[in-house]
């Protein structure tokens, strides 16, 4: 009779998947994890919010993402801890003296030997160093190597290669009708005119659906000159003309008005 395996503290894997949707951490010290991703644990584990005074040194060394501080906790103690996220696929990845940038909603947990920093691309986080982290994806993760263009919704993250740039298909930019079509969808848009383009050496992580995992609003980066996404002011178009209503401002700009 082959039933689902019954796990106990000894048979739970150490730092490995229990099934594609649950990951078991063999905790002996500290781990960072996103709030609410712990589903069960054996042993004695305490959870501290980031900002707990006693953890100051740890935070200073491994957590450089004040915008995300409210979403993260430190698990401290000894035992086996199960992590999962809305029944999405979870996987662990090992970084060796590397860097990896990942969508902030996908990262579940990481070892303090890694340092977490905000990417300059809004909504992404960068992990630098050596250690293990756990990330969720909607469907299994596919690894691909640049040069490649990927669908924005399928992108989970990338390692080692330069940050991507936007790529628009040529037709998108051609002629008045092309512009109109791109902005309104009237006349048929395939929905695939816009990609992220990766070049250079590295690895790109894709999920196998185009359903994005909902993520928490994290606020804005500091209002400083030169910080992308900072300030919250929309970029000023060179034009002094009054902008057309209905979000057509970009269209107006494209035709040089």
């Amino acid at each position: 009779m082959t039933g689902p395996v019954i796990h106990d503290v000894a048979t739970l894997p150490a730092d490995d998947n229990v099934n594609p949707y649950a990951f078991s951490v063999d905790l002996n010290g500290q781990w960072f994890l996103q709030k609410g991703k712990m589903i069960a644990y054996y042993g004695s584990i305490d959870f501290h919010g980031i900002g707990h005074g006693r953890l100051d040194r740890l935070i200073a060394g491994s957590f450089h993402s004040p915008l995300h501080a409210a979403d993260w906790v430190v698990a401290e103690g000894q035992g086996k801890m199960l992590l999962a996220d809305r029944a999405f696929d979870v996987n662990s990845y090992d970084l060796e003296d590397g860097n990896l940038t990942i969508r902030s909603g996908n990262l579940l947990a990481f070892q303090p030997s890694l340092a977490l920093k905000q990417s300059i691309i809004p909504g992404f986080l960068t992990l630098i160093g050596t250690g293990k982290f756990v990330a969720a994806s909607n469907g299994p993760v596919v690894f691909v190597e640049p040069p490649i263009r990927v669908d924005p919704q399928a992108l989970v993250g990338w390692a080692d290669c330069p940050s991507p740039c936007h790529h628009y298909d040529h037709q998108y930019l051609r002629g008045f009708l092309g512009g109109l079509r791109a902005h309104t969808g009237i006349g048929g848009a395939s929905g695939e005119e816009h990609q992220f383009e990766f070049v250079g050496a590295g690895t790109v992580l894709l999920q196998s659906t185009e359903v994005l995992m909902p993520e928490l609003a994290t606020g804005a980066v500091p209002d400083e000159a030169g910080v992308p996404g900072g300030g919250g002011h929309p970029a000023q178009s060179g034009s002094q003309l009054p902008q057309l209503p209905g979000g057509l401002g970009d269209l107006q700009r494209r035709f040089g008005l």
Binding site: M1, G3, I6, G36, A40, G51, D71
Partner: protein, 264 residues
Amino acid sequence: MACARVHKRWSIVTAARTITAGGATKGRSGADRDQLGSRPVRAPGPPTTVWSVAQFRLQGSKVLAVDMTGDAVKAKNGAMVAYDGQMSFKKMTGGGEGLRGMVTRRLTGEQMAVMEVKGHGTCYFADRASEINLVRLQGEKLYVEASNLLCTDAALRTGTTFTGMRGASQGNGLFTTTVEGTGQAAITSDGPAVVLRVTKQYPLQVDPGAYIAHTGGLKQHFQSGVNFRTLIGEGSGEAFQIRFEGEGLVYVQPSERNTVGGEV
């Protein structure tokens, strides 16, 4: 003819994924299998156990198939997706627990819309594409939320029980459903459930939003890590846990329902 029928049943049952709730899974020897054709019993299994006739098996992980030969199962109302053979579906008012059960369920908020399915053939059940887990009960009690209970053997008794703060923290009310007796039950979960054993030495803490069911003699405490940091907005997000102590099995799903506790 009867022989062929028995063999067909056998192959179906071996394909099924079932859990022995007591833990000890008994392997059946090849010799046992050879004798099976000549034995007059229809349901295969260890000879010591009393088997109910309806056979539960999983078709994939999200559809439950129940093979019935004139017997009945209780299932969540409207969970039937297909059947072959002859089936009758009868709404059981108040979960089939009589007038008293009906009133209790109404009062405790553990209403179950249950139907009785009876007939010959195979009936398929599914509920919003959630994963299905089979639980085999041998006299013990299964505690499960009414919303997670998909189907039970007609021989199993269902009832309600008070759970205290644990239930409240899950947003599922103060009461939960119990299933008792000998037979099979199917429970649903968001993602395949992980079955965790609790022993005296190793108690288990579970996030209220991920808990779906448990069996065995377990005591549950509601454990709270709320302190002044929670109040100033520096909570850990894991402020509430259910602590299980004793001997038994706990089913957790790899997903969290939205709970009041999850935000703190």
